[in-house]
Symmetry: C2
Subunit: 572 residues, 2 copies
């Protein structure tokens, strides 16, 4: 592609509307332009990357035996009414009426449409398992679209839906997709992690998220440094500390702590680390108010607590509600002599001599011990894991925390949709049976942004070769220097003929602008061609990543570039 | 692709909802399934063909120097308000509001969006000419969606938009697209015609349509059998008959014709052919009522008449309006002694002794002649051309009429959008100048249907190789016969490895079903593999088109199939 003939409008400054690196760099390198809130035009450079992701996804889905289909964006309300989601989905579902006044929506996902399709076409267990996917434009009317295409409203998604006769077959289909997803992110050249996820809201029995690792990621994910356990923070479980009870060594004492309310203040007051304290939280659940105990340095995981209390109404009580219910402020709440139901996090089980609120404003208790001072409560996993926690799957490992950007999500849906939409097939006994579904999503456009979050430096994007819009950029210093221009032109043809994707910067622009743009655009390999180099018989071949540079003799340039690109493409 | 593992639900009978061949065959061969009125799911077989068309279009657009972009489906109303089309477009524009109550539409076309994009990014004449295209899902809320994807509501379209500094440059950009379109339809293997079209409604100075020729086509298109003149019926002009006046030979006579009102009845009454008669039509226009005269065997072309009378209010008067205005019924209307403005079709200029209504109910005039009986009126082109008319471009040719399906349309738009949206660039003199636009559309999904209308027989689709979902089908008679199954499997791999696209019918189905499905699906080449053939050492290679069949020795089958496919793909 010749830059002089391409709409590739680079920007010198970070646009004010962009907060995260990928948004800034996609605007600055001319990959996208905003049309409206959360709605973007893909310009030629961006589209090249988007298509690369799309093709990688397609290739791996095909390889995994999924069948590509293409379902409509505009979906009739009737199907969503069958599953009840027309009412449940909320305002994120973009609804409208056609000229005849019939209700439709712009599909944010396609469970209803695909289930409708297969219930009309699949009749027998012999036609299962089957897995259908598409790569298609979706719309979700996000309350606050932001971060460019990272959290846009209109976006490109790969969604797949598997249909199996029984759980074992679903487990297998799920595993096939799980492996295909790993291949996809590997083939993109991205550093990623597959983590267990909570499947709460959407139901079903299992769920994994795929995260591209990046410091700027919105999500925290935990992984073991020894085994392959990994989970998102909502779901991650730390190993239990060894079971040895530590016997009491101190008497329980009530101490006036007029100024100490928070864990930090209490720890400072008593000159202990927070892990010697216990914090007490009051929550509302279906079964009424309940006291949750956590070690002072731990954070409540509301998903876990909500799941445990099966609580649709689960929430933390407000301070004034706590006061009303217990007669004390949140800063002095504690479990000793409390009449509330108490659940303590597992990590408290072998604590001794700990400090907690005294249930009397301005007082705390020290030297508190289970059984001696209060009965052992129910213990459960209530907290977020922390860096360094032991692994719950293996003996040796400890957990590390990383930041990630969710780019894929796989679910075992079970019969949620097939049942509500009356999809059955005849089983081996000739009886109607409701198949089980899995669904498997990848944010195709989001991968582009996530890749940039993971691969950039201060000067621009540093594309992994598999997603790079161009393998090689030929930076022609001055198109008016005939010998250099001719050499660049010949090289351009040679590289194209060898199958490489090449950007030729043939613009009449200042050298500084050209170098800055090349850094922004981020082709992995760059060759700089100018009159002096031609005269001297060697030109500079540069590597975007690391910035290394090498003089290469003119007659070897083509081959050098081709070999270097092939090395990168072969992963070496 | 293995048929046993593919959703390819063929139907034995024509579905009742389908009226035209392509709709029937797309449903019967399992290419598509309807989701709602004018909204279709593309199943694996259909999608393969759709992607082929898409790739051919993309390849030729890239080759022609157009830049691919990807614009949003959801478009803000503000842009449409700028050009006035928010109000003009009517109910075909699918409108809705987002959660914030802002107006949007599902883009049926992208003139506004692309003009908004380039007005923000292009600043200088140096950046022109530029041409941007996309392949994208559109929605048009047709009043009566029908004929399957031929006239659906949601469809896949390639739309391109060129921007040029002046008319000469636009003419060039238009010509480049015109040639690219010819390449596209050639590369699809379709028989097509590029015809001049009326550019009335959308404005601009020139317009061509591209039609795939098919007897079932909705449009009539005229073309010269000698030169390359071709136009759609709205626009086609016949050559003038030679100018020799024929002198009168008869007296004008008033004859009672109580039962003869239509041209056919009048011709029969007087025992003449209809071309000896003249029919008189009354129309309403901006300038008031006007009488149009046509030869009895000719049809009024309302587009031409409307353009001539510059008539926004152009319409044929109803019989009761004619009666009220002239005092006679439509069957006896005539030009002699009429006080109305009269325009006659060119073909009447050298008629003599003709028959027309007498302006008195139940009477006609015979032997009517210009000048002697009534003054010569204004002559103009008012009629549809007919098969056999002389060509208006060359001396030698005569016109033939064909039926066509419109699959592409190119327009010179001029400054309609750039002006209303205030797009300017700096010209060579440093002054703001409004660029001129062209727009170029191709109905990507419609090409699939049009190809079937052109290429089918009683048994199913007969794909041109370039659009075929598979080059070769391997029809395995009985997968339980191990030697045959093994041979089929090896052949399947060999063909795939050679780069061919292959369907392996490995289903446990009756032979008749397999043959019927193979005909429906329409792969150009078919090989039938069964136990007997394996024993005998030769299997049958069949051609879908023409149905020819040939025994090929087992050790030569692979090579034969590969060569035959390559011959077809190379156009020989």
């Amino acid at each position: 592609m010749r830059l002089s003939k391409t709409l590739l409008p680079t920007l010198k400054e970070d646009p004010v509307e962009a907060q995260i690196v990928s948004h800034k760099l996609m605007l600055r390198s001319g990959m996208i332009r905003q049309l409206g809130a959360g709605i973007y035009n893909w310009l030629p450079l961006g589209l090249r990357v988007l298509r690369k992701v799309e093709n990688i996804v397609r290739q791996q889905m095909d390889k995994a035996g999924a069948q590509e289909v293409f379902m409509p964006a505009v979906q009739p309300a009737e199907l969503w009414q069958e599953t009840g989601r027309w009412d449940q989905y909320g305002v994120e579902l973009l609804r409208f009426q056609d000229r005849g006044g019939r209700d439709f929506c712009f599909g944010p996902t396609h469970e209803e449409v695909v289930t409708d399709l297969v219930r009309n076409e699949l009749r027998s267990y012999k036609q299962l398992p089957a897995n259908f996917y598409q790569i298609q434009t979706k719309f979700r009317d996000e309350v606050r679209p932001r971060f460019g295409i990272m959290r846009g409203r209109e976006f490109l998604m790969k969604d797949a839906y598997s249909f199996d006769l029984d759980q074992q077959s679903l487990d297998n289909s799920y595993e096939v997709m799980f492996q295909a997803y790993k291949e996809i992110f590997k083939s993109c050249g991205l550093s990623f992690r597959a983590v267990e996820a909570d499947s709460g809201a959407i139901g079903g029995s299992a769920s994994h998220e795929f995260h591209v690792l990046a410091e700027s990621g919105e999500d925290a994910i935990a992984s073991c440094d020894s085994c392959d356990y990994a989970a998102n923070l909502e779901k991650a479980v730390a190993g239990l500390q060894d079971g040895t009870d530590t016997p009491p060594t101190a008497e329980m004492q009530k101490v006036a702590t007029p100024e100490a309310k928070t864990i930090d203040e209490v720890s400072e007051f008593f000159a202990v680390t927070p892990d010697k304290t216990c914090k007490s939280l009051l929550v509302e659940s279906d079964e009424g108010p309940c006291m949750l105990l956590l070690r002072g340095d731990h954070e409540l995981n509301e998903i876990k607590a909500g799941n445990l209390l099966a609580g649709n109404n689960f929430r933390l009580l407000e301070p004034h509600e706590v006061k009303k219910l217990t007669g004390v402020g949140v800063g002095s709440l504690g479990p000793v002599a409390s009449k509330l139901k108490i659940i303590a996090d597992n990590s408290l089980a072998n604590m001794s001599d700990f400090i907690c609120g005294a249930n009397e404003d301005g007082y705390h208790l020290t030297g508190v011990n289970w059984e001696r001072d209060l009965p052992s409560p129910q213990f459960a996993d209530l907290r977020n894991v922390q860096e360094g926690d032991s692994c719950s799957r293996c003996d040796a490992g400890s957990l590390r925390l990383d930041r990630g950007i969710e780019v894929g999500h796989v679910f075992k849906l079970g019969d949620k949709y097939t049942k509500s939409m009356n999809m059955t097939v005849l089983n081996q006994d000739g009886r109607e049976q409701t198949p089980l579904m899995g669904c498997y999503g990848i944010g195709v456009s989001r991968i582009v942004a996530a890749a940039i979050e993971q691969n950039h430096d201060d000067n621009g994007i540093v594309w992994p070769i598999f997603l790079a819009p161009f393998h090689v950029e030929i930076l022609l210093i001055n198109p008016k220097e005939a010998p250099a221009a001719e050499f660049a032109e010949k090289l351009y043809q040679q590289l194209l003929d060898s199958g490489l994707e090449v950007l030729l910067d043939d613009r009449h622009e200042r050298l500084g602008v050209k170098f800055k743009d090349a850094d922004l655009i981020g082709a992995p390999i760059r060759v700089v061609i100018g009159g002096r180099g031609i005269k001297e018989g060697a030109v500079e071949v540069q590597s975007r990543k690391g910035g290394s540079s090498q003089k290469v003799a003119l007659n070897e340039v083509g081959e050098t570039l081709i070999n270097r690109a092939k090395d990168l493409l072969s992963g070496s």
